[in-house]
Symmetry: C2
């Protein structure tokens, strides 16, 4: 028996297509009719899976969150914890370049658009930032404890700085559309980590 | 003879009020009727000063840009160039706290909302980021040349990192609404600058 039913496939198709629309247009500018047109799913079927636009938006964020943490796990690879972080940042910047600097970070975009007005969206995004920071903190803890970083290193502070720099870098390179910016920011992060 | 005519006062009143609306709602969600309601200016008068919503949005960005660079000049003060940068970052975070973490950075918000779709908006924001980075680079150049920073310091790279960290920090603290985050990010930037 397959665990992916037709209903689940439809739900996933709606989530992935809506994510693309949300990245391009933001939550407020995405209408339910644009989702219906983009997905080709009938209105009744859409509302069978998601009771409201807010519900759909939250499900898209949750789905993107799960995918992002799989991506982080896959990209945090290397010979030591510092190299793992640098490789993961490289992979994030490579995604940004692959997308021609368009769209940027769904979580960052939604943070700026929704966080003041919608607590449920805010909670998911806060979870993304804090789990991401937590993951990097674990790696930096290990790096400090094994002497790869000086004993004065503050792993949580450094992890937050790396995440903030990445978010700022994605924002700034979206504006400049300049590949050199990403190269610079990667060099900056590499420097932060003492390499 | 006063150089501030009644027309200029009205124009400025429209700019400042629209800026508040744009920070709260973004460009796409701000209707001309909301601007008319918020400013109390008649439609004809509004269109006398700004020919379109895009025109108004651009003028708001230009006005905010001028104000931001005055703010930077006023806050880049201290005994030496490194202290100047730290004090300016402190002042930026103090603004963020004063606004209860609501609204964030108009340039950052507009970057994420508009940069992929509107080249004119994108140009103004790119100018903000590059002039800001340029100003910090000059200070860091001076710091390196006077031995306040190691000779291996790359002023432009470090300046970009500071700006990216600030933008990321404003984004992340808007989500967390937690004052400790700003304290952490200020410590991180202070650390970046070797203090």
């Amino acid at each position: 028996m397959s665990t992916t039913s037709k209903g689940e496939k439809t739900r996933d198709h709606i989530l992935k297509t809506t994510r693309k629309i949300l990245v391009a247009k933001g939550f407020h500018n995405t209408s339910i009719s644009a989702v219906i047109e983009g997905t080709g799913v009938k209105k009744g079927n859409l509302y069978y899976h998601f009771t409201s636009k807010e519900d759909l938006g939250l499900a898209v964020l949750e789905d993107a969150k799960d995918e992002f943490f799989s991506f982080l796990t896959k990209t945090l690879v290397g010979r030591d914890p510092v190299e793992k972080i640098i490789n993961s940042c490289k992979a994030i910047f490579a995604e940004q370049e692959k997308n021609n600097f368009v769209g940027g970070c769904l979580f960052g975009n939604t943070a700026l658009e929704m966080t003041d007005s919608n607590e449920r969206f805010s909670e998911v995004i806060q979870e993304v930032f804090s789990r991401w920071t937590g993951l990097l903190t674990e790696h930096l803890d290990e790096a400090r404890n094994t002497g790869l970083l000086p004993s004065s290193t503050q792993p949580r502070l450094l992890a937050k700085t790396v995440v903030a720099t990445l978010e700022g870098a994605i924002m700034m390179s979206r504006v400049s559309k300049n590949k050199n910016d990403l190269t610079d920011f990667l060099a900056a992060i590499t420097g932060l980590l003492g390499r």
